[in-house]
Symmetry: C2
């Protein structure tokens, strides 16, 4: 599903050049659940942003389902994102003008899902994430962990083929964190491919294997 070859990403500020991704090459098969771990600043979010077509690499190739996608224009990338991907951002990126219900519903509107189906699918996730009592709140009126659970609900509601989750339990207590991991596990068992950045080895234990990064490179080659 994912084939990445010599992927490179360089950031330049006035004074400093950072190689955030350093000639990365790896594959992820459809249906896999892969963790990505490594120290703060080593390139995990950058990798997820490239895989999620939110960012273009400086060099190298990214094949998604056999199609080279790294050089597509924004319109084409946005289309793939809306149809096939679900993204849980490290800083949530909820839409402040929409309430919890509307934030979760949005991907289904993009996919032209009928209103009654949307209502049912959003309701199921509100319940699973323990957010029914918050559905009309706005993001600024939620706790950190509640915002994180809305971000997760939004990423999974459209049943995407690929879920990219950037530290999905960072703001959650053990019980809510476990509920999130159980949900991801269920989705994976139903066929969803998952790439998850985590600092938590207990979360990583839910995955099939772990890619370890350091200074923009992969430092273990499990496959």
């Amino acid at each position: 599903m994912i084939h990445v070859h010599q992927l490179n990403k360089v950031y330049r500020t006035d004074e400093i050049e950072t190689t955030a991704l350093d000639q990365l090459s790896f594959n992820i098969e459809e249906g896999e659940f892969v963790s990505v771990m490594g120290p703060s600043g080593c390139g995990k979010s950058t990798l997820l942003n490239v895989l999620g077509l939110l960012d273009t690499p400086s060099g190298g190739q990214y094949f998604f389902n056999g199609q080279e996608v790294s050089t597509l224009n924004e319109k084409a990338r946005a289309n793939i994102r809306k149809q096939q991907l679900g993204f849980v951002f490290q800083s949530f990126n909820l839409i402040d003008e929409l309430n919890v219900y509307e934030n979760i519903e949005l991907p289904l509107i993009y996919q032209d899902v009928a209103a009654s189906d949307r209502a049912e699918r959003v309701r199921v996730l509100l319940e699973q994430m323990g957010l029914l009592h918050r559905k009309k709140h706005f993001p600024q009126q939620l706790s950190g962990g509640q915002q994180q659970r809305v971000a997760i609900a939004r990423a999974v509601v459209s049943h995407p083929h690929l879920i990219l989750a950037d530290e999905p339990t960072g703001n959650l207590d053990t019980k809510h964190g476990k509920e999130v991991m159980e949900l991801l596990k269920e989705l994976n068992e139903a066929g969803t491919t998952i790439v998850m950045v985590t600092h938590n080895p207990e979360d990583a234990a839910y995955s099939h294997r772990t890619i370890r990064m350091l200074d923009g490179a992969i430092v273990n080659h499990p496959f």
Copy 2:
């Protein structure tokens, strides 16, 4: 140092009334290192915001160093915050228009610290937090964990009497998380009072005792 009596905080949206703090009463002595734990949404950040004079309670009393502070006007509260408190926010709240160096330096400017002293104190923290190579970056150019470390550096640079830390290691790998906890431990051993919200029992182990919350109330009474 902190004496709280029947502290209450109610949030109202159009449809829902939430009692985020429910008649809380407790003391924290000067020099203590106290953890606050509890499920997502139970009121931990709300408590920290009230203790940090960022938010006013709906009812009850808050004595800080013997002075009732919950009904002070914004100017008086801002003065106490700048002189005596350091706050690590759950979502960092860095100033986007300032670079890393300037974000960390800001509390010292509020305290009229001389320029050469400011430079030295900021440099020490940049080094301790592993951010020397990022000092001219802007927050948007940092990884999540780097932003968190800037937030921590900013909270401690002015040597405040009281540090309020809301999940200070949530975005950090084990090594960086341990460095942060060791820094907090050092500051506490030098006399700083610390109240830290955490979901991580390993972090809580650095504190003297843990206050457990549930639905806005304290559910253990260790003291």
